[in-house]
């Protein structure tokens, strides 16, 4: 129903704009030629008659305009779909976050040899959290098994068991992984502090372990052979893959799965910091960690850093470039269409020199001649553009239904873009008609009529 509604709105908006422009153009022409000409039904009949008389020419012209608009709409729609799709992929993680993983030193520092392994510990988490500019501090501990080596760690309830991803995290994991709670709550500070055996499960995990309609909250499940109580169910941007996971308190995991105070990843968000601010915070964190673990702050191997703020800014730049490119191509296509209309109208005026001469001899004012040609051009571009618009929107809807790739999501043009395109088109039509029309109004009836 929704696409139909969108379509209807686009059609309505387009018709409204077309009407406004026609009124405006008529007024401008009336002022230019000093006549208030009525755009009556009669005039429209004259226009329709001319267009019908030259079916092939009309069709070809209309086709070029419709094609231009069609291409523009599809390009814009796909551009926006690509934008949305890639952003969505990106946004399964907070785009304002920085991730730190540890590596091995590659620069001698303070008398230490190179190749020393850096190991984050709980104290690092507390120290980093104090750095100004960080709003949500999170840390991850990797449970051994499965992806991280060894036999997979299973999540089990009764006879049902599966190797879901196990994510020991802090209570801020909610913000870093952009989780939405569908039921219950996420891990909280008390879970962490008291090393409670609480677990938050993804929707596919719920669907796998529990019967439909069964309330999972308060139920006990086994995670890696240890019993945990379910406190919440999450949704992560509708991604099946990312939701096949369970979150447990990192402190509990360190105790239950022999992790001592080891931490594998530090991650935090920086609010709405700019790229520069994010880089400054990054440097503060590097300095802090370098000091705590005795490696050179300039050591490129000691830390593996993912700066999502910077990455996302780069992506945003690409999208700006794509948008500019799309508009450039689309505008070019439209201009080609409009020039085509103008050319065709010019030829039409040539062909109709005699007719225009007769009309002038019979009392046609220059205004009525100009209005006739311009009206024709506007009608042609507007109606052709309209079909191109509808065709383009329909194609986008079809592509959306087909879901060819995850990288393109909801390809659609918004209403204002559609209306803007319509506005530009009708104005362009008026312009395309005006110059041939002016030439027509200057036709000398006698030369025209003598022209055998």
């Amino acid at each position: 129903m929704e696409p139909l509604l969108k379509l209807a709105m686009a059609i309505g908006g387009f018709a409204f704009i077309a009407l406004l422009v026609i009124l405006a153009v008529t007024t401008v022409l009336a002022i230019l030629y000093g006549t208030i000409g009525s755009t009556s039904f009669d005039n429209w009949q004259e226009v329709m008659e001319t267009l019908r008389r030259n079916k092939l020419r009309t069709t070809l012209t209309a086709l070029s305009v419709a094609w231009g608009i069609f291409i523009l709409v599809v390009l814009l729609g796909m551009g926006s779909g690509l934008n949305v799709g890639v952003r969505k992929k990106f946004q399964r993680d907070a785009v304002n976050s920085l991730w730190f993983r540890s590596g091995k030193s590659s620069v001698p520092y303070a008398g230490f040899q190179i190749g020393r392994k850096v190991q984050f510990v709980n104290a690092d988490v507390d120290a980093i959290a104090k750095i100004p500019g960080i709003d949500h501090m999170d840390a991850r501990f990797y449970v051994k098994g499965g992806f991280w080596g060894g036999p997979p760690m299973m999540v089990r309830r009764g006879i049902k068991a599966n190797a879901f991803d196990i994510q020991p995290s802090l209570e801020s994991g909610l913000f870093l992984d952009l989780l939405e709670m569908t039921e219950g709550r996420f891990l909280n500070a008390r879970d962490l502090k008291e090393k409670r055996k609480s677990v938050v499960i993804g929707r596919p995990v719920q669907a796998y372990l529990f019967e439909p309609g069964e309330d999972p909250i308060g139920q006990w499940i086994e995670v890696g052979g240890v019993a945990f109580q379910v406190v919440g169910v999450f949704n992560r941007g509708g991604s099946q893959e990312e939701e096949r996971a369970v979150y447990i308190p990192m402190s509990t995991a360190q105790v239950a799965f022999s992790g001592a105070d080891h931490v594998n990843m530090l991650r935090f968000t920086v609010g709405d910091a700019s790229v520069d601010e994010a880089n400054r915070i990054k440097q503060d964190v590097i300095d802090e960690l370098a000091q705590r673990h005795q490696f050179s702050p300039d050591d490129p191997q000691a830390l593996h850093i993912q700066n999502n703020v910077e990455n996302f800014a780069k992506f945003a730049q690409i999208f700006t470039a794509i948008a500019v490119f799309v508009w450039f191509v689309g505008a070019g296509t439209i201009i080609a269409g409009v020039v085509g209309v103008s050319n065709i109208m010019m030829i039409a005026v040539r062909e109709r020199t005699k007719e225009i001469g007769v009309r002038k001899a019979l009392g046609a004012t220059p205004f009525s001649i100009v209005a006739m040609i311009v009206q024709e051009a506007i009608f042609l571009t507007a109606s052709a553009g309209f079909f191109g618009l509808v065709g383009g929107v329909a194609t986008l809807e079809l592509l959306d239904k087909l879901q060819l790739t995850d990288f393109v999501k909801n390809p659609a043009i918004n209403l204002s873009t559609g209306i803007a395109a319509g506005l530009v088109l009708v104005c362009a039509g008026a312009l395309a008609g005006f110059f041939p029309a002016r030439a027509a109004a200057r036709v000398n009836p006698i030369h025209a009529l003598r022209d055998q």
Binding site: G357, A361, L362, A364, T365, A441, I446
Partner: protein, 235 residues
Amino acid sequence: MLSLRKINKYYQVGAHALHVLRDVDFEVADGEFVAIMGASGSGKSTLLNVLGILDAYDSGEYVLDGTLIKNLSEKRAAYYRNRFIGFVFQSFNLLPFKTAVENVALPLYYQKVPRRKRNRIAMQYLERVGLADWAEHVPAEMSGGQKQRVAIARALIGKPRLILADEPTGALDTETSQQIMDLLTEINREGITILMVTHEHDVAARAQRTIRLRDGKVVGQEDEPHLKAVEAAGS
């Protein structure tokens, strides 16, 4: 009805000005039927353009029905053409895609008469030229004489005071020419002034007066003495 006083008209051809009308000076009374004769290049077409307010002149005075026709705006000129003048052309100049009745109605379109009303009036004029049965035919389906009748009906529908005919029989055979001339004569008898350009003597002979042009100058005006003779013989 109309008077021309020392009308001069030049055409700019390259660096030279071609003097096409030289002190043209004549009057046409209300209800007259006047023929303008001259060889090609004598300026008769230019004169017709000036008379039809289709072209401007450079000096002199043209008064039509008490109105000085000089330096008119395009809009004003269109208005006078529409209200005062009916045109009949050698090549008929009907719009090929319109039916006879629509062609006849066209001047009323520019008077903003509603479609149905103007088509009704057009039917009356078609009847008058004897072509009511051909109302829904397009020009391509008609003979030359029929087309010229449609054109005459179109010239009449605006109730003009003056009809300007440019070689109205130029594209017709002798018999049809006679019929068209009969029709024009009849219209003239009803009080409409007719000015007709022709190079055929027997056609000019149907007018009451002939104005001869040579090299853009009026070289003679004569009544047609045999007109009365013809009429006397006819009646």
